[in-house]
């Protein structure tokens, strides 16, 4: 029997564990599992869709600073109900009111979440609601004013568990 000491056995076991871990880490780096790949591909496609919707709404107009502000959680544990509040800073008289406010989830499969439409009778353009988010991404709020100006605010939300997965 070769000198099978306690020290040798422990060393050997350590080497086996270490090489195993290294190999697995390497595999992960080289090829992501197919479901991860398709998920990432989907998010890229969704983002492209969202960007084009956003560009369509803004239509090349200059963005007004501080027109719309929003409150979203920094971290949303459940992407299926993310609380959002926004407010448009305007007088709500004449044509100084938001004709519509668009809510866009930048990686949602259907990026446009909602459109809220106001009239001067609202007195204030402030709305709270709950939306779904597919994954960690920006939530974009666009205020499209009756006078033709436009403002935007972007909110990064870290989504722990995405909706519609």
């Amino acid at each position: 029997m070769p000198n099978l000491t306690r020290r040798r056995v422990l060393l050997g076991a350590g080497v086996v564990v270490l090489t195993g871990t290294a190999a697995r880490a390497q595999e992960r780096e080289l090829i992501a599992p197919p479901e991860v790949q398709s998920h990432e591909k989907e998010l890229v496609e969704n983002r492209a869709k969202a960007e084009s919707i956003l560009a369509g709404i803004i239509a090349g107009r200059p963005l007004r600073d501080g027109l719309i502000s929003g409150t979203t959680p920094d971290i949303a544990e459940d992407g299926s109900a993310v609380p959002v509040t926004f407010k448009v800073a305007c007088s709500m008289s004449g044509d100084d009111y938001p004709h519509s406010v668009h809510v866009i989830g930048m990686v949602n499969p259907f990026p446009e979440i909602a459109r809220f439409h106001f009239t001067p009778a609202c007195g204030e353009a402030e709305v709270s609601f709950r939306c779904r988010m597919r994954a960690t991404s920006d939530l974009v709020l666009v205020a499209d004013m009756a006078d033709g100006t436009v403002g935007l605010s972007k909110h990064f939300v870290d989504v722990t568990m995405g909706a519609c997965s």
């Binding site: 909602a114 809220f116 439409h117 009239t119 609202c122 007195g123 519609c164």
Partner: protein, 116 residues
Amino acid sequence: MAEPDRRRRLRVPKTAVPGEIIQIKCLAEHVMESGRRKHPETGALVPRFLIKRMECRYNGTLVFFADWFNGMSTNPYVAFKLRAAESATIEVTWIEDDGTVTTAAREIEVVEPSDG
């Protein structure tokens, strides 16, 4: 799919002074089926079934409305503001994908504050 729940909730302050900004809160109990979810057993896509539009009328005039898509959460809740102008009915209407219309209405009394 279970029978859609049509319970509608609407909260409006009972009284307000003229010009006061009041908050209206409403919630519709609804599955808001996005059309992307797969049935857990069969794997077939569950058909889309949403409330696609919500409208608010103050004394019969459309003052606030919204178009919703599949990113709105289940049981969509919305809180928004109105300027109290007159004693009247505040009515909220929800329109579903299949054309079903549900309504909830509340009265608001708008009165000048009494002295003392």
